[in-house]
């Protein structure tokens, strides 16, 4: 019997590939944004708004993760940018090797790469992808109890977008409570209250993306 002290990260291989992705993004001066939320919170609609607003000035591409169908990538590609769909065939998150394969198939003459993760508030939070920032959406019809139920996700968020504010008065959602719980779990997260569908409240978030694009361009 032999005892070996190892101290190895379980996700070391995922992290190694993610670090290579980060190097590739940095080398090409591309801002990588990972967008996460539960299914139906409005990730694709938000990304459509980002593309509409930033496409005139910046070069963008999107990589969309879903269990099945090409629907999300088709919606984004319809706006005239390169969009690649990753079908995870049952896997509930994107990992760095899936992302690396997709990145190998896009042109890296870009300012912004948007990664739309698989709709899920649990699993994607555990897999570092090499992207620079995490944007997490929570939508008002999901209910106001989600932040403390999914602390890992809200803890890794750089930005939290409270989406579907246009229907907040019809659903049981205490905005102040949610904001306070986000601040408790992650005091550094920036919070924006938006309606992606109606294009409301997005200017702060879009400015945040632009400032990150500029930071990486000038780094």
């Amino acid at each position: 019997m032999k005892r070996i002290v190892v101290e190895k990260k379980i996700l070391e291989k995922n992290d190694d590939i993610a670090n290579k992705i980060r190097d590739l993004l940095d080398k090409n001066r591309i801002f990588g944004l990972n967008v996460m939320s539960s299914p139906g919170a409005g990730k694709t609609t938000l990304i459509e708004r980002i593309v509409e607003y930033l496409k005139p000035q910046y070069k963008l591409a999107a990589i969309d993760g879903d269990l099945d169908t090409q629907r999300d990538a088709q919606r984004i590609a319809a706006l005239g940018i390169e969009a690649i769909q990753i079908n995870t065939s049952g896997t509930c998150h994107l990992d760095s090797s899936m992302l690396q394969k997709a990145i190998n198939n896009i042109s890296l003459d870009l300012d912004l790469l948007i990664v739309e993760n698989v709709g899920n508030l649990v699993c994607p939070a555990s897999f570092y992808l090499g992207t620079h920032k995490n944007a997490v959406l929570i939508s008002t019809p999901e209910g106001d109890d989600k932040v403390k139920k999914y602390p890992t996700m809200f803890n890794v968020a750089d930005v939290v977008l409270i989406n579907k504010m246009d229907i907040v008065k019809f659903v049981n959602f205490d905005v102040e409570k949610v904001e306070n719980e986000i601040k408790e779990i992650n005091p550094n997260a920036i919070i924006f209250k938006i309606s992606a569908l109606n294009n409301d409240g997005l200017s702060g978030f879009l400015n945040w993306i632009e400032s990150n694009i500029q930071l990486i361009k000038n780094s």
């Binding site: 019997m1 032999k2 005892r3 070996i4 002290v5 190892v6 101290e7 190895k8 990260k9 379980i10 996700l11 070391e12 291989k13 995922n14 896997t91 509930c92 998150h93 990992d95 649990v122 699993c123 939070a125 555990s126 897999f127 403390k148 602390p151 890992t152 996700m153 803890n155 601040k183 408790e184 779990i185 992650n186 005091p187 550094n188």
Partner: protein
């Protein structure tokens, strides 16, 4: 349920350790799993039990899992706060009103292995 993918990663790390140390089989492994690593220990154990039947070198392996609580430190007053329950997480120093830095709770590590 991403614990299947995590369990598969555990098996891959154990396989590397077996090969690097010229072991024939692994009999136990000690893991550290943080309370906000996003991994549920019961689900990880369940997934590992399912996978180990497919892999000869770990067929008798036992996982010892250490659940690591969340600890966070205030960079101003150096006070360390420990949260036994993730429901109680408040990442803000009540004295200094400054965000805390996490010092534990995100671990997903294999710390030692026994084999022959």
């Amino acid at each position: 349920m991403h614990e299947g993918a995590i369990a598969q990663s555990v098996v891959e790390v154990l396989r590397d350790i077996k090969n690097q140390n010229q072991l024939l089989s692994i009999t136990s492994a000690t893991l550290k799993v943080g309370a906000i690593s996003g991994v549920m220990i019961d689900a990880l154990e369940f997934a590992f039990e399912a996978i180990k039947k497919e892999e000869d070198f770990i067929k008798d392996a036992k996982l010892n899992i250490i659940n690591v609580s969340v600890k966070a430190k205030c960079n101003i007053c150096d006070k360390i706060y420990e949260f036994d329950n993730t429901d109680d997480l408040v990442m803000m120093c009540p004295i200094c009103q400054m965000p805390l830095s996490i010092i534990s709770g995100k671990e997903l590590e294999i710390i030692d292995v026994e084999g022959e």
